[in-house]
Symmetry: C2
Subunit: 325 residues, 2 copies
């Protein structure tokens, strides 16, 4: 067992899979996941934190492994009944999953911080690590897209020009199938990390940038006051894991989005994005021939299998990552 | 078919049963139910309107007839999952019922009025009448009770003195089993009826006070600006149906609450409460010997079977009520 204090900067699915390995590679009591909240949204009055929930459900071994989100063995009575009202059903909320959002919303309405509620939810699932939203302030990822009318049921009429929408309206409602012009993190300029995140970063021996979408999963974390500066100042203790393997994202639109926003959708492109904040980049064996170019960008390349097909591979990857600096 | 424009002042179960008969006795297009919203509450961030939903589900023949609230054939996955978080489960929300509250909350958050959302919900259930919340403003029934610690899980510690709580905390959480000292309608002084309610009252040929709890179901309706004055001025067109039969309420705490607040829990007690605003009181055959005392209070007594065991009896009662003035 590796004896180090670890902070993992986390998005959803990829980060959750790595964390499954991390809590097996080191004492989970010394692991803190700092999770993206730019994807958070309010639907039906309920505060939904998709990345926090994906990490929680995955580590609780309760995730629906087919979809990568939501709970295994869900029922869909509420969503089905919502159809009667022509309500919002493009964002699927299973009946048992709903309880998480209901509980979170109730506690936030009672004055609890998102950090406090998250700790309560983590305790309820008996997870052994610490999960922290990056901030208690509101940071909302906004995506400007080309919006063909058929993608939104014609709601914007004949206007096919650029349209700024919320992240879930892009990611789920339009199934990330529309071109992205730009991304911004609304509220980030006035948001600050929570005291708990500040303390975790300050005391960690190593910070891991999980294999999550660099733009919309890691981007919001870096945009919150204090995070990027901390990483830059402690670059020698930061290891990133490339979410791009052989020019493709395993899941989600990271590859296409990187290309659309002027990045190269390769391990080298990831290296360029992280060169200022990380000293090591873990890349997949499929990208072994990019190692030297990664090194030329000032990052030490580590080549290994990064496709976490099961928890053993995730644990091996975590061991590699956590001993890389 | 009786050809009259009808307004029914409605609480929950008793009003819903009478309305089942009313829409069979007259053209439903000429029926407007003005429904109590003093019971409304926000739980888990969801706006819940119990009386509106009880009326809607009852008229849609979708109500759980055993409980008198919620939908028949419900599942309880969300409530069950909420237990993991030690969330609020004393107010039962079935999975399909949740969709109603989710839709309502979403629409209110989008800026719709409760009147607009209610019309949408009524349309979705294809109900043939008009359902109106008495007001779009917030009116919250507050109940001051003696609160023994065991009634609330000890949350108020050893304090058994008077405590003011929300209506659902009294009605559902404490199962209306604690003594009531007083009732008030928070917000009523600054609330006004919606334009739709004002128009319905102004154009109706007859106004019916449903057999609902006079204090906490009809009380909030009368407390909203304009309603009591309208009834007083149009007393000759107002018929009330006593919710007290043989000194008892068929359902709920109306009888005990009337006694605790200094009223007589009898048909005569109801007559005293409504003498200024109604000209006819329909009382049950069980209370036939109270007819003369009712008359002496200035109300014309009508004695008939008021126990709406089925829709035929409800329709007969509605016919009696609607031809009483």
């Amino acid at each position: 067992m590796i004896d180090r204090g670890v902070v993992v900067l986390a998005g959803g699915v990829g980060a959750a899979r790595l964390l499954r390995g991390v809590i097996r590679a080191v004492d989970p009591a010394r692991v803190t996941a700092v999770v993206n909240t730019g994807d958070d949204t309010v639907l039906h009055g309920l505060h939904i934190s998709p990345d926090l929930d994906t990490v929680t459900y995955t580590l609780a071994e309760a995730i629906n492994t087919e979809t990568g989100w939501g709970l295994a063995g869900e029922t869909w009575q509420a969503m089905d009944a919502l159809k009667r009202y022509d309500g919002i059903t493009w964002f699927g909320l299973g009946d048992r999953d709903l309880a998480t959002h209901m509980y979170r919303t109730q506690r936030l309405n009672e004055g609890a911080t998102l950090t406090e509620v998250t700790a309560e939810i983590v305790a309820a699932w008996e997870l052994p690590l610490t999960l922290l939203p990056v901030t208690n302030d509101q940071v909302a990822t906004k995506v400007t897209v080309t919006d063909p009318p058929e993608a939104n049921g014609g709601s914007t009429g004949g206007d096919c020009g650029p349209l700024e929408i919320g992240f879930q309206e892009y990611f789920v409602q339009r199934q990330h199938s529309v071109p992205v012009h730009s991304v911004r993190f609304d509220g980030a300029e006035s948001a600050s990390v929570s005291p708990e995140v500040r303390a975790a970063l300050a005391t960690s021996d190593i910070t891991v940038i999980a294999p999550s979408n660099p733009i919309v999963s890691i981007g919001p974390l870096l945009a919150v006051d204090g995070v990027r500066d901390h990483l830059t100042a402690n670059r020698d203790k930061v290891v990133a894991v490339s979410p791009i393997i052989g020019g493709k994202a395993l899941k989600g639109p990271a590859d296409r989005m990187m290309t659309e926003l002027g990045h190269e959708a390769t391990a080298v492109g990831v290296a360029r994005m992280y060169a200022d904040i990380a000293s090591v980049l873990v890349i997949d064996t499929a990208d072994a021939d990019s190692a030297e170019e990664v090194r030329s960008l000032g990052l030490t390349p580590v080549v290994t299998n990064t496709i976490m097909a099961d928890v053993d591979i995730a644990t091996e990857l975590a061991q590699t990552v956590l001993t890389a600096v």
